[in-house]
């Protein structure tokens, strides 16, 4: 019996430590909660590069989520929070970066490639039309007929 109680006590310690690792943020209202979720989905983890803040286990992602939480509670707007992080981490932090000279290629590169592809397909199509057989003149038709006749 003692052993069982001891095991229960020891295992309860692990339960506590697991719960402590998950940070639950308390918001005043639902719109704050929604903004927090949106921001941590839209902003990128600076450590892991291919994941957003909400999907990252990196310590810095947890710190940045805490920072966003505090700024929301302080009454800062989404733009102010994004500005705060962009000043420190650059446009890189934002999965929806603003349009400027540095991000121009990022925004319009795919469109440019699509247009280039359409242009190439169009040119190829136009060229293959040129290869269609031409109408024979009456003289050429006669010549062809005699050639075919002779073959028989």
């Amino acid at each position: 019996m003692r052993k069982i109680i001891l095991i229960l006590i020891i295992s309860s310690a692990f339960v506590v430590s697991v719960n402590a690792a998950i940070v639950v943020y308390q918001f005043d209202n639902e719109s704050q909660q929604q903004r927090f979720n949106d921001l941590s989905d839209q902003l990128r983890c600076p450590m892991c590069l291919n994941s957003n803040l909400s999907g990252s286990d990196a310590p810095i992602a947890a710190d940045l989520r805490a920072e966003i939480y505090e700024q929301i509670i302080d009454g800062r707007s989404n733009d102010e929070i994004i500005d705060f992080l962009t000043q420190r981490y650059g446009d890189f932090i934002n999965y929806r970066p603003p349009l400027n000279s540095g991000t121009f290629l990022l925004w319009f590169g795919p469109l440019f490639l699509l247009l280039a592809g359409i242009f190439i397909v169009w040119r190829i199509g136009k060229n293959s039309q040129k290869l269609q057989p031409l109408e024979l003149s009456s003289e050429e038709q006669k010549k062809l007929n005699t050639l075919l006749e002779n073959k028989k």
Binding site: P46, M47, L49, A58, R88
Partner: protein, 181 residues
């Protein structure tokens, strides 16, 4: 446009893609450009760590870092790469007397940090305590170790992510430092 000229297009396109991919291959994807390069140091005032013979625990602020070139190194005892670069930092700080080495103990256990520096020697003139990682966020830090070169006017000139070793010091730090001088 004749047919010959048209045939060049895929070739040119292929070369462009090849160039782009080769360029990308040679780049380190974790080398994210720092937003703080050529910008002034963030404003801060934080306590410094006392260890060994250094018992001064006065606040360190942005102003204290101006006046000479400083190397600001974010480190922690929980960070294995920091252990790897430590002996090398000690070695360069002894060699490069004109540089001021400032450590930032990043989200660490202070007793372990003291023990670490007392046992392995310290490359730092001062160690700033960043207990909650706020200074790290102001520096645009992704993790430890990271090292910044700051000029005498307090402008950040370079950010290095990851371990410092012989080769990295000679190939990236030395050129930046001699350019500032």
């Amino acid at each position: 446009m004749n047919k010959r000229a048209l045939l060049i297009i895929p070739g040119v396109f292929f070369m462009l893609m090849l160039g782009l991919l080769l360029f990308g291959l040679g780049r380190n994807p974790s080398m994210v450009p720092s937003a703080l390069t050529n910008r002034p140091l963030p404003e801060f005032s934080l306590p410094s760590l006392n260890y060994g013979s250094i018992q001064d625990i006065s606040q360190v602020s942005t102003e204290d870092l101006k006046g000479g070139i400083s190397i600001i190194n974010f480190w922690a005892t929980w960070c294995p790469p920091c252990h790897i670069e430590h002996p090398y930092l000690v070695e360069i700080s002894e060699r490069e007397q004109e540089l001021t080495f400032i450590g930032v103990n990043y989200k660490d256990d202070l007793d372990e940090a003291r023990l670490f520096l007392e046992e392995k020697g310290s490359p730092f003139e001062k160690v700033i305590i960043d207990l909650n990682g706020r200074l790290g966020i102001d520096f645009g830090l992704a993790g430890a170790p990271e090292t910044f070169i700051v000029d005498s006017a307090g402008i950040i000139r370079y950010r290095h992510v990851g371990v410092i070793n012989h080769q990295i010091w000679e190939e990236t730090f030395e050129p930046v430092i001699s350019r500032i001088n």
